[in-house]
Symmetry: C2
Subunit: 193 residues, 2 copies
DNA sequence: GCCATCACTTGACGCCATGTCAAGTTGACG
DNA sequence: CGTCAACTTGACATGGCGTCAAGTGATGGC
């Protein structure tokens, strides 16, 4: 595609992202990536020291290309806490499919690779932070349930819209993406208020 | 499950379960298991054709030993749908820690091993079935929310008390087990009614 | 016009875990 | 005593990742 004569490093990143997105996340091998980028397997190692760092670089690249920051920050503009909660669930929930392949590969490596673990946890910390912000506004408006601390509410919200929950509902159970958003907005409102 | 006079087979299963329970699920190697069972690595292969089948046999063994069926069926006796929901969440939720190591190893293999995948999915299908039963009783009592179909409610409940959600809350966020049960009972009631 | 350097290729290798194979050893039982 | 089953021993194939050394070829500085 457009990556024919892009610098090699970028071509490798694009190929990595493409392979991870189109299924079988954790099965992608270094040689597959090299082949897709039309370079030798060793060329990949000239740019990235190992598989874990390549994947985390690809994750960063993906975030950049999609401008995730901007999209997730959109929910900030909501007037009330409840609106912000909805906006947040929609913003993050609709971003999940884009990073799912990536996440799957990274999560599969978490048990054995410290680098992959911290890369993924960094990203998830940002999402957790977004959940905390939504919960804080809810609390500010006096709409947060008595039965949960702010921390617990944050964790619960995070779990409700985690990549794994999304995977469960949309991949395994076949929910349409839009329905996932609706149900989770509603469930979050009910569970947190 | 013959194995009356095959102590070796049982020893291997017990060692497998023990290793999986005590941390680092997916890192357990065949040689680790052999060493723990005090047999040669090859002896393991005389009883189980490969890692996946050993793990699924260990999962079955674990279920047997803990008598999971009986424990999960206990929620059947609840009078109302709401009580059944609570009982179900408590029964299954309290069983999760016992099978967590096992589950982690099996889930890690799901991407690459069809056998492991189907073994785990079989077990999860039983849990999903339990969720469906609770939702049905809720619906029978007229307590199920209008905004969810029975299928959706079942899937949502299943996601709420999935092994991954438990892992998220109790392992990563450090919730006490009892609190996890409370919060999930409450959240399930709110989200489903 | 030449040569040095950089980016990449080629092909071989070590490592490690799974799984296979063949040739023992050991002990119970006829 | 021989046989059979259960187990051991050690070697080997396979398939990833990651490393290494010796090329090749285009570019740019001089």
């Amino acid at each position: 595609m457009s990556s024919e004569n892009a610098p090699t490093r970028i071509r490798i990143l694009k190929s990595t992202v493409a392979l991870l997105e189109s299924g079988e996340g954790s099965k992608v091998r270094m040689s597959d990536i090299a082949k897709a980028a039309k370079v030798s397997r060793q060329a990949v190692y000239l740019h990235f020291p190992n598989r874990a760092e390549l994947l985390t670089a690809a994750a960063r690249y993906l975030d950049e290309v999609n401008d995730i920051e901007a999209k997730l920050l959109a929910s900030r503009n909501a007037a009330t806490g409840l609106e912000r909660l909805d906006a947040w669930v929609a913003a993050w929930g609709n971003y999940i499919p884009k990073i799912y392949g990536m996440g799957k590969a990274l999560m599969a490596m978490m048990d054995t690779d410290e680098e992959a673990r911290s890369a993924w946890e960094d990203r998830m910390a940002a999402v957790h932070h977004g959940c905390a912000a939504a919960v804080r506004d809810l609390s500010r408006d006096g709409d947060l349930t008595q039965s949960l601390s702010e921390d617990e509410a944050t964790d619960l919200l995070f779990s409700l819209v985690s990549v794994r929950t999304w995977e469960q509902c949309c991949i395994e159970f076949g929910w349409p993406q839009a329905r996932f958003i609706e149900v989770m907005q509603q469930s979050a409102r009910k569970a947190l208020t």
